[in-house]
């Protein structure tokens, strides 16, 4: 009977090196995504405080957020920042799926796609609100 060979550290090093760009892409997404979200949130909070306009008791449905933001509402900006933070891990999963596909790693590209499908169910519930 064939016993599988233990993996060598050289193979792990090679695999690790191939993933380096993917690590950097996900990190850049999180770093810049966090900055953008924090900026929108701060602007929303400052506007809310300046106008004495409290944040809403519930986030508006997705379709109503953009018109609210465009009308200059502080609560709309705060809702937008919260949803932006919530979408970042979904975007990261897309980046990882595409990254694995580019590396020719079809197994993990498909597994990442499966995660996106599961998340898609949750997002669909939110959009249907």
């Amino acid at each position: 009977m064939n016993v599988p060979e233990p993996i060598s550290t050289d193979v792990l090093h090679g695999r690790h090196s191939a993933l380096e760009p993917l690590y950097d892409q996900v990190r850049a997404l999180f770093t810049w995504g966090w900055r953008v979200g924090a900026l929108v949130l701060v602007v929303g909070v400052v506007l809310a405080l300046a106008r004495g306009e409290p944040p809403g008791a519930s986030i508006d449905p997705v379709g109503e957020i953009l018109p609210t933001v465009l009308s200059g509402s502080a609560a709309g900006l705060i809702d937008l920042a919260i949803l932006w933070f919530m979408i970042l891990p979904v975007l990261a999963t897309i980046v990882v799926a595409v990254g694995f596909a580019r590396l020719g790693d079809r197994r993990y590209a498909l597994i990442s796609l499966l995660v996106l499908i599961v998340l898609g169910f949750s997002i669909t519930l939110a959009l249907a609100r």
Binding site: V3, P4, E5, P6, I7, S8, T9, V11, L12, H13, R15, H16, L19, L22, Y23, V26, R27, F30, T31, G33, W34, G37, L41, V45, P54, P55, G56, A57, S58, I59, A75, I78, D79, I82, F85, M86, I87, L88, P89, V90, A92, T93, V96, F100, D105, R107, Y108, I111, S112, L114, V115, V118, L119, F121, S122, I123, L125, A126, A128, R129
Partner: protein, 280 residues
């Protein structure tokens, strides 16, 4: 919501984050019990806020772990399939469940977390095994200067534990790291730093699955989320600096007692018993 309560939420969230980051548990474990027991916040709104806070924490924390290359992206994605699925199921159940059930489960999780603090993590290097799933990884540990290679084992049980962690995460709004880090380390033989880095990435995706379900049910309240996010972010910064200066292990007994107190308080609340100083 009045300004005083908003400030109270922010301060409490900061305190929860300091405790959470010193214990490596994240803020969510403390946030929901303190919001509900002491500030009288609706548990469903507290859980929704906690899920968003966990997402924001994960985005910030993952950047650090990704830079250090502690995160194992293949392992994270594989385990994430069952964790995200569990989170949706847990959230769908939790958002409509009787609060006493949520209190009871949360209380038992906190008691488990308090007890699990006494279980030592394994830093033993395990001989490399075959790696048919291509899940093995290697990272440089700056603390020892060594390279740490590893190959996760017991994948199927790991996927099962992930499903359970996801259900708890979805139901309670915690990230699930409190279950996943020990599971990856002790069950799947992933070194602690890789387990923490991988979990930090995973909890963001898991909590997004939870947060969208709560959003769909109108249970995301910006007037609670904003002070919680700001408080947890600032508290997390203070906590991570304090962790470097203080030996958190020395404080683990005190933190264990706090977790036990909150856990038992929630179990008693589930049974209709309120302790002095707590709100309905």
């Amino acid at each position: 919501m009045d300004l005083l309560l908003t400030v109270e939420l922010g301060v409490v969230a900061a305190g929860a984050a300091i405790l959470g980051s010193m214990l490596g548990l994240g803020g969510g474990v403390f946030l929901v019990p303190i919001f509900t027991l002491f500030l009288g916040i609706d548990p469903k709104l507290a859980i929704g806020a906690s899920a968003v806070v966990v997402v924001v924490n994960s985005v910030v924390g993952s950047s650090v772990h990704l830079r250090s290359r502690f995160t194992n992206l293949r392992l994270a994605m594989l385990l994430q399939v069952t964790t995200a699925l569990g989170a949706i199921l847990g959230a769908l159940f939790g958002v409509g469940a009787d609060p006493s059930i949520v209190y009871l489960v949360f209380g038992l999780v906190l008691v488990y977390a308090a007890v699990s603090m006494g279980i030592p993590r394994s830093n033993k290097l395990v001989a490399l095994a075959a790696d048919p799933m291509r899940l093995g990884g290697i990272y440089h540990d700056p603390a020892t200067g060594d390279e740490v290679p590893y190959v996760p084992v017991r994948i199927a049980p790991g996927l099962g534990v992930s499903l359970g962690a996801g259900v708890l995460s979805g139901m309670l709004g915690v990230g699930g790291g409190v279950v996943m880090v020990p599971a990856m380390n002790l069950l799947m033989r992933v070194p602690v730093k890789a387990a923490v880095g991988t979990s930090a990435f995973m909890v963001g995706v898991t909590s997004v699955a939870t947060a969208f379900v709560f959003y769909a049910n109108g249970k995301l309240a910006p007037d609670i989320i904003v002070p919680a996010v700001v408080g947890v972010f600032l508290g997390g910064q203070v906590g991570s600096r304090l962790t470097r200066r203080i030996r958190a292990q020395r404080l683990s007994l005190l933190f264990g007692v706090i977790l036990l107190y909150l856990g038992l308080s929630l179990v008693l609340r589930a049974l209709g018993i309120e302790l002095p100083g707590q709100q309905k």
